[in-house]
Chain length 206, copies 2
DNA sequence: CCTACCGATCGGTAGG
DNA sequence: CCTACCGATCGGTAGG
């Protein structure tokens, strides 16, 4: 996304460096928000790492919140795209559910820093901006709910399962990952994903 | 717990009111941390609600962090006691697992405000104080892990399940509750607990 | 992007 | 608990 700062540009030649710098800014902000938390992180921290003055950040942003929005929107878009890809594979609902769980876990682990900021700081955004990103009916949950309904229509998922509650249940264990997953640690993302997927399928299968 | 402020007391008669006021302080702090998040919450906010001046809080505390510690320690102790009670019932591992999941979900939902502060702000505490509370090997997880091992010893839980990973999986969906559970909403705590428990048991049973 | 700056607020303290 | 206060830092701005 383009910087939400002023739209006026001085000269043609300046355009490209600015976009580049902007993505650096977002990257640094992601890291700092991850390390300190959004509230505790200061624009000073971010400016320091970029080697510029705090006030200069306002050439790129209008408020600190813009940075958080950008970070969260980025991971969320990516995660959503990933989920949609996984869901639309040509297979039965149970097999797709399996793939979705594995793929979602892997996405979160591979994007641990930005995922953490997303999951931990989402409610630091005002309700409107939050909703702008995840939608009224939390996008991930909506997709998972549909998938479970598909499974019930196919007769491969138990009838007495509430699709919405099951979706929240599945997402919960995945969304908690950022609190304990350690890259290169005891469990690989793939192992975690496969185990979670096995358990989920076993729990819900008709 | 007693206030971590100065231990000196002025006169005998003052003692009781002080303890009372201290518990009011903790209660108000819990609420404010819940509403604004620990970092964004100011001692001013807390003092205002108590009708005292910000500086006066230092009669009861030494740092803002003391309040967070107290809040988190309180819920954690309660939750741990609850878990231990549930675990030690005289029944098979699978039945106890069921009770533990239901009871834990209910505890979290019934103590939503303080649970939220605990789960969301735990890492705002420095590592030593955090560890003082949850222990080196996160207490809840340790207990659950043992329970699952018991189940494997009894032969009622699948052998190929990693007890630790399963514990993290179970706790994850429960720990995410505070992000979506609404008292009086679509699902009651009991319903959520029973569903989660059914699914977990179904997933792990031999 | 820098210079130069602001008002507001923060956690915390000395002394009573 | 109050009075009175501090240094530090915060997000943000005007003007170039």
């Amino acid at each position: 996304m383009a910087p939400p700062g002023r739209t006026a540009r001085r000269r043609g030649a300046e355009r490209k460096p600015r976009e580049k710098r902007w993505s650096e800014l977002v990257k640094v902000a992601t890291q700092v928000f991850y390390e300190k938390g959004y509230e505790a992180a200061s624009l000073q921290d971010i400016a320091d790492r970029l080697g510029m003055l705090k006030g200069s950040l306002y050439y790129y942003i209008q408020t600190k919140e813009d940075l958080l929005y950008e970070v969260i929107n980025g991971v969320h878009q990516g995660g959503l795209r990933n989920l949609k890809t996984l869901m639309s594979k040509d297979a039965g609902a149970l097999e797709r559910l399996r793939e979705v769980v594995i793929g979602h876990v892997e996405y979160e682990c591979e994007n641990l820093v930005s995922t953490t900021v997303f999951l931990h700081e989402l409610d630091a955004l005002p309700p409107e901006r939050r909703q702008e990103i995840v939608g009224e009916d939390h996008a991930y949950r909506g997709l998972l709910t549909e998938l479970i309904e598909d499974g019930q229509a196919e007769g491969v998922i138990k009838e007495d399962v509430s699709p919405k509650l099951a979706a929240l249940w599945i997402l919960g264990s995945a969304n908690w990952l950022y609190r304990w997953y350690v890259p290169g640690g005891e469990f690989t993302a793939r192992e975690i994903g496969e185990q979670f997927a096995d358990w989920v399928v076993r729990a819900l299968a008709a």
